[in-house]
């Protein structure tokens, strides 16, 4: 029984949150990796693109709520998501047209594009702060829990509860759908294949008559959708605060690099590696240990690292990968 309790505690505080957080990171890392694969630079504005997408969705959500429209047990934000993604797509397409295209034509070095993306980050950050401010915004509605801790205890008779927030399940389901659609698109459609071809060998793609500008446009639209979905899911699961999205940049880049920059499967794997490590290492194992070894006098929380240092976990993994396998677990570079 105590072993079961220990497992439930572990599932409740490590497994479920890691899966949800991992899905959010994976979606973010996919965006970064797609830009890297097609446009060949690390997009520092990605965190703020996510913030913009989430913000656009929140505003539409508020509007829907004010009209009295809801989505039953699901959050209204899901209804607003397409509108948010559309707004974000328009923003990034405009950015590409006004900013990035110039450097692409000049065949500028990647590092110049990274600096340019820093400027774009400033602008997007300013836009988001300007429109919605810097404060926390809660916009989740609908059912709070699939299973609450109390229900679970009553159902099973265990002492430990397993709470599954509806947003956690939603995150996973939406992430699976989005990733499935993305992979179907990349592997089964002519346009998706042309994107992979372009990422693999730009010159040969040109010789085959693939229009680079079209590939770039479609990439931005996909990235905008991914960023919006990731941003909204993260906001629903935690809360929306513009600055936290900037801070997500580090774990997102760590995920993408750990998996292999430019490799979508790697980005997903990397997202879960980072999420699981971050949460496991900052989890206080005291409860679990008490169940498993009741005779052991437990001192302290048995926490490897305090939660404030979760960035250090992404960073440490990143460093290890850079030292021992700079191309990432899945050998990056092409889509």
């Amino acid at each position: 029984m105590d072993t079961l309790n220990a497992l439930v505690a572990l599932a409740n505080f490590v497994l479920v949150p890691s899966i949800a957080y991992g899905s959010q990171l994976a979606l973010g890392a996919l965006g970064v990796t797609l830009i890297y694969g097609i446009l060949r630079f690390s997009n520092f504005a990605h965190g703020d693109t996510m913030a913009f997408g989430a913000m656009a969705t929140i505003i539409v959500t508020w509007w829907l709520q004010s009209l009295g429209i809801s989505f039953g047990p699901l959050p209204t934000a899901l209804l607003a998501l397409p509108a948010g993604a559309l707004a974000t797509a328009l923003l990034v397409l405009a950015t590409d047209r006004l900013v990035y295209r110039f450097y692409r034509r000049k065949r500028a070095q990647p590092v110049i594009l990274v600096i340019v993306s820093m400027g774009v980050m400033f602008v997007m950050n300013g836009l988001v702060r300007f429109i919605i401010g810097v404060d926390d915004q809660r916009f989740a509605d609908g059912a709070r829990f699939i299973i609450s801790a109390r229900d679970f205890k009553e159902m099973t008779g265990l002492r430990e509860g397993l709470a599954i927030k509806s947003t956690a399940l939603l995150t996973v389901v939406v992430a699976i759908i989005v990733v499935a659609v993305l992979f179907w698109f990349l592997n089964r459609t002519r346009t998706g294949k042309s994107m992979r071809a372009f990422s693999d060998n730009e010159d040969l793609a040109l010789l085959s008559g693939i229009d680079p500008e079209r590939v770039v446009r479609i990439t931005w639209i996909i990235v905008a959708c991914l960023a919006t979905v990731a941003g909204v899911l993260y906001g629903l699961d935690k809360s929306f605060k513009p600055f936290t999205y900037f801070q997500l940049l580090l774990p997102i880049f760590a995920s993408a690099i750990v998996g292999g920059l430019g490799n979508p499967i790697g980005a997903i794997a990397g997202g879960f590696v980072i999420a699981f490590s971050e949460i496991t290492i900052t989890y206080a194992f005291k409860k679990t240990a008490l169940y498993l070894f009741p005779v052991w006098e437990v001192e302290g929380l048995i926490q490897l690292l305090s939660t404030e240092y979760k960035f250090a976990v992404s960073f440490a993994i990143l460093v290890v990968v850079l030292l021992f396998r700079p191309t990432g677990l899945f050998r990056g570079k092409a889509l």
Partner: protein, 434 residues
């Protein structure tokens, strides 16, 4: 190199802007801008060494600046003797054990034969080392932080003159830069960017959470000054009689005097660094650096150890940023770990370097002053603009209220737009490299 007439006019214009602020607003504000402008210029100088000389992309400036601030606390604050008695030695021992574990791991990794034994040994060493470290560290920290937490709750510093903290701050930043550089240099340029971004977040997290070291978010205040206090000047008979003799009020003059004293110190450091940077740039070493930047492959083929040179310049640049950070904390008289924001301390410095002219030291100095001035002025300027635009709307209109409330965020937008415009239309900056 000498400054052209155009460059001198640019410098004079920026100084003119600040002087104008003195006349229109107050000399106190103008000198405040000037002092932070000096510090910004030094930060920009450090980043320019890395980017302009060597093409290294550092996104962790904030971390190096904050380490400089920590240096000030460690050097200049009086030691807290009870805390040292409670756990000082134990904390130091714990840190040494931690460091020794890592050193042993690195040593073992390089000396042992490849294979499963090496991996097992390494994992065992790290795990055991970690737990020993925590066993020593945790109780010591609890003991230190229990010593009158409202007033101290940390080890304090060495109680040495604060000016000594400036080179120490530089050394701390250099140490961190060595760690990052060892890992990420020699790989793709984006990797260095991500690694520096990570280390800077971690440094800030350490400052915020290791209360025994930096008091965390409780801040360290009352850092000793290298210059006199206003109140002492006001109480000094000779000062009061001198100032009154000129027919001036001693109170405002005392604050200005203090600011001028800081300005003198900062100006000295800036001049010294600028002179050193210029000398380095025109030396054979500087020429080699630029040769490497312009064609890494060719330089490597000529037998230059590119990664080692890059590490060198990366550490130097970080040290300059660390020194600027120490100077800033000295000027503030307090260390507030919660106030370090990447947009302010990393990306704004980048705007300074790019706008000023990457690769040109004078350009960086100019960019430091100009962008700092704009950063300060963007907020009231934005408010003024928005009030002008919304003048037609009645008071209390929701849009007007919202816009006026948001005016403070105009500066990010402004800086981003400035950066993008300069990169696009004048990528070599105001004073280009020559």
């Amino acid at each position: 190199m000498t400054l052209s007439r155009r460059d001198i006019i640019l410098f004079l214009s920026v100084i003119g802007l600040i002087v104008l602020t003195g006349f229109l607003q107050s000399w106190n504000v103008a000198l405040g801008i000037f002092n932070m402008g000096l510090i910004s210029a030094i930060m920009a100088l450090g980043v320019n060494m890395q980017w302009g000389y060597a093409g290294l992309f550092n996104v962790g400036i904030m971390g190096f600046v904050a380490l400089g601030g920590l240096g000030v606390v460690i050097i200049s604050m009086p030691p807290v003797h009870e805390a040292w008695a409670a756990g000082g030695i134990r904390v130091i021992t714990a840190l040494l054990v931690g460091g020794a574990t890592i050193a042993a791991a690195v040593f073992g990794w390089s000396r042992m034969a490849k294979g499963r034994v090496r991996i097992l040994f390494l994992v065992a060493l790290l795990v055991v080392g970690f737990f020993v470290y925590r066993q020593l560290f945790d109780p010591a920290v609890i003991a230190i932080e229990a010593i009158s937490p409202a007033a101290t709750g940390y080890l304090g510093g060495l109680g040495l003159p604060v000016l000594l903290a400036w080179p120490v701050g530089a050394a701390l930043a250099a140490g961190a830069a060595w760690l990052v550089g060892k890992t990420a240099l020699g790989l793709r340029s984006d990797y260095l960017a991500i690694a520096t971004l990570g280390i800077s977040e971690i440094i800030i997290a350490v400052l915020k959470n290791e209360d025994w070291l930096s008091r965390g978010v409780k801040n360290v205040v009352g850092i000793p000054r290298p210059v006199p206090y206003e109140i002492d000047l006001q109480n000094s008979d000779s000062f009061v009689s001198l100032v009154s003799g000129w027919g001036l009020d001693p109170v405002p003059v005392s604050t200005i005097t203090v600011k001028l004293a800081y300005a003198g110190l900062f100006l000295t450091v800036l001049a010294l660094l600028l002179w050193l940077a210029q000398a380095a740039l025109s030396s054979p070493w500087g020429r080699m650096m630029r040769a490497i930047r312009d064609n890494e492959v060719a330089a490597e083929a000529m037998g230059k150890d590119v990664t080692a040179r890059h590490l060198q310049i990366f550490i130097l640049g970080a040290a300059v940023c660390g020194m600027a950070g120490a100077m800033m904390t000295t000027l503030d008289g307090q260390l507030t770990p919660g106030s370090y924001q990447p947009l302010r301390f990393t990306f704004l410095i980048w705007v300074m370097v790019i706008v000023g002219g990457s690769g040109n030291n004078f350009g960086s100095v100019l960019g430091g002053f100009l962008i700092w001035y704009l950063w300060v002025m963007a907020e009231p300027g934005g408010l003024f603009l928005i009030e002008a635009v919304t003048a037609q709307l009645e008071d209390g209109h929701w849009l007007k209220e919202h816009l006026i409330k948001s005016a403070a965020h105009m500066r990010h937008l402004t800086m981003g737009v400035i950066l993008l415009l300069v990169l696009r239309f004048n990528p070599r900056g105001l004073i280009p490299e020559r």
